[in-house]
């Protein structure tokens, strides 16, 4: 396994800087751009999108509501929310059902900037160890969030939800939210690798469930070309999702990364020197290397370096 600093080096030499950072850069542009759009209102008086990630209004017409929050609302006993919230939750839910639930995590959520930074620094500093959390803990957390809403009759988790605290803090200027970001950063850096997003965050868990059925996926169509450099495992925030698709050929598994936990961040695609991965669709879940499907091969794969 390559040390932190060299990840992506071979790919960069093969394909150049842009091709090996394209999705990463686009992702940062998306994350910061969305923050920027929200900030335009309070800072410059330009109202493109109002509110925050919990609920917002785009161009004064399109409502958006976080579906998990909406679910908590129902569980807490508020059964007749205004139509705006219903429509908003349906729109957001529909979008993520289509493109992959955890696209929220990698392309929108501001916490990802913090935890990715911690993850990157952890690689750079070659930090190891920390506590072991089961990746399934987040599903317990999700259950807890809903249970709390049921028991307290309020959106109790929102009192501490770092995602909304941070986003709200950035937009509405609440100083203490910076400490939440710092705490998450330190937690991921020293306590648990990819601790928050990969193991604990109930929103990540929720969006993971949403994404389990979505059609837009990362595919390892060229998996035969894999030379076990392991770079994809190093960069992936959820490395456990790769193995079944990449190494499952003998077991009869298809090349599509099916796990909902995959955030569709696209890092594996660009960092792989063998160009094994590409964005594509869920179906068909078998190699597209052979037969008539070769030409319709989607995404970046310009034919692997076989």
């Amino acid at each position: 396994m390559s040390g932190g600093g060299k990840t992506g080096l071979t790919a960069t030499l093969n394909r150049g800087w842009w091709q090996t950072r394209k999705w990463l850069v686009l992702r940062r542009v998306s994350q910061l751009g969305i923050l920027g759009l929200f900030l335009l209102g309070p800072l410059a008086g330009v109202r493109i999108i109002d509110g925050n990630l919990s609920s917002s209004l785009l161009l004064d017409t399109v409502p958006m509501t976080d579906p998990l929050l909406f679910l908590q609302m129902l569980v807490a006993g508020f059964l007749v929310p205004a139509g705006t919230a219903v429509l908003g939750a349906a729109l957001v839910m529909g979008f993520y059902l289509l493109v992959g639930g955890r696209v929220f995590c990698s392309w929108v959520c501001p916490v990802n900037l913090v935890t990715d930074a911690a993850g990157w620094l952890r690689l750079r500093l070659d930090l190891h160890g920390g506590i072991n959390l089961a990746r399934s803990t987040r599903y317990w957390m999700l259950a807890l969030v809903l249970l709390l809403a049921l028991a307290t009759g309020s959106l109790a988790y929102e009192l501490v939800n770092p995602v909304s605290l941070l986003h709200r803090g950035i937009i509405f200027g609440l100083g203490s939210a910076a400490f939440v970001a710092l705490a998450l950063f330190l937690f991921d850096l020293f306590v648990a690798r990819r601790g928050w997003c990969g193991h604990l965050c109930p929103m990540g868990a929720f969006y993971g469930l949403v994404g389990a059925v979505s059609p837009v996926r990362v595919r390892a169509d060229q998996r035969a070309a894999c030379d076990d450099c392991m770079e994809c495992f190093v960069v992936c925030p959820e490395p456990q999702v790769i193995r079944p698709a990449l190494k499952g050929a003998e077991a009869g598994r298809g090349p599509v990364i099916l796990a909902g936990e995959c955030t569709n961040c696209g890092r594996c695609i660009e960092v792989c020197p063998q160009e094994v991965f590409a964005f594509g669709l869920r179906y068909p879940n078998r190699e597209r290397g052979q037969g008539s499907e070769t030409r319709s091969s989607p995404g970046l794969s310009k034919g692997a370096a076989t």
Binding site: N52, S55, A82, T137, M141, L148, L155, A156, G198
Partner: protein
């Protein structure tokens, strides 16, 4: 290295593997459970809104509001006067929920209530279209000792500033017993018309306002639901509901009368005092064994 689930190849036979899996499961469940308990306690404490924080117009009753408000801040953005704030992590109000503090920034009662229709969930009830129907809280003259109107001085600042002037606050004229010849102009708030905007609290001339807007739950008492006020029932009914009271007859000694008209106990002048010098005689009256 991530927990027990999914990692294979440890070389252990199946049995210990499963045991470890179950152990991990129990550990996780316990950890999350404890976390939940803490969060629940935190929530129940944090959900008690402090008295100084008043919800925006149209806000549902607090318990429902906490289930309905997504903490998006659209109402905050909607308010043209920057009255509303979103609670921060360390504020007393539950994090992210909107409120205002009357003494520093009261609601100016916009005609079109722009903060309400933007609320996506209806946590601010869209049915509120007339700001005069808003009940954000209730103004209460909390300190009769500090309010200078009670000293007999002229003030009426709260009365004059009130947008529902003359209805939400009236001035009650009372006799000034200290000077003997002046009037007190006492501010009295009426819950039927006060919107809880807080303009009066902001305007109160005292160092610390004598009139304060309190959340309804603190401002209002509540009569037992079985209570009926006789005169109201009587007015509704158009007459007495029961057969008129018999004049009460007191067991009075000679020479003593009771006048229901208002004078009360009357001892006939000239008559000898009906009371014996020994108070025991009075107490024992009617109990004499040899009657």
């Amino acid at each position: 290295m991530n927990g027990g689930s999914g990692e294979k190849g440890s070389g252990h036979p199946a049995q210990p593997g499963r045991r470890r899996f179950l152990g991990d499961l129990a550990r996780t469940a316990c950890g999350v459970g404890v976390l939940g308990l803490g969060l629940g306690l935190h929530a129940s404490r944090a959900n008690a809104l402090p008295a100084a924080a008043i919800r925006p117009p149209g806000a549902l009753p607090e318990a429902e509001f906490l289930a309905a408000c997504t903490r998006c801040g659209l109402c905050v953005r909607g308010c043209p006067y920057d009255v509303l704030k979103l609670a921060g992590l360390l504020d007393e109000a539950p994090a992210g929920t909107p409120y205002f503090v009357a003494r520093t920034e009261p609601c100016v009662m916009c005609e079109d209530i722009p903060c309400v229709p933007v609320c996506p969930t209806g946590a601010l009830d869209h049915a509120l279209t007339d700001i005069h129907e808003a009940r954000m809280g209730l103004a209460v003259v909390v300190d009769h000792e500090a309010c200078i109107a009670f000293q007999g001085l002229r003030c009426e600042v709260c009365f004059n500033i009130c947008p529902v002037r003359g209805k939400a606050i009236t001035l009650d004229l009372q006799h000034n017993a200290r000077s003997g010849k002046h009037a007190l102009f006492i501010p009295v708030v009426h819950s039927a018309d006060c919107t809880g905007c807080g303009l009066c609290e902001k305007a109160c001339i005292l160092e610390e306002a004598a009139i304060k807007v309190l959340p309804m739950r603190l401002a209002k008492g509540e009569l037992g639901h079985h209570y009926r006020l006789g005169w109201e029932q009587k007015a509704e009914h158009g007459g007495s509901l029961v057969t008129p009271d018999q004049q009460h007859r007191y067991n009075l000694p000679e020479g003593v009368r009771y006048e229901h008209g208002g004078r009360g106990l009357i001892i006939d002048e000239g008559a000898e005092s009906p009371y014996s010098d020994n108070p025991l005689d009075t107490l024992n009256r009617g109990l004499e064994p040899d009657r």
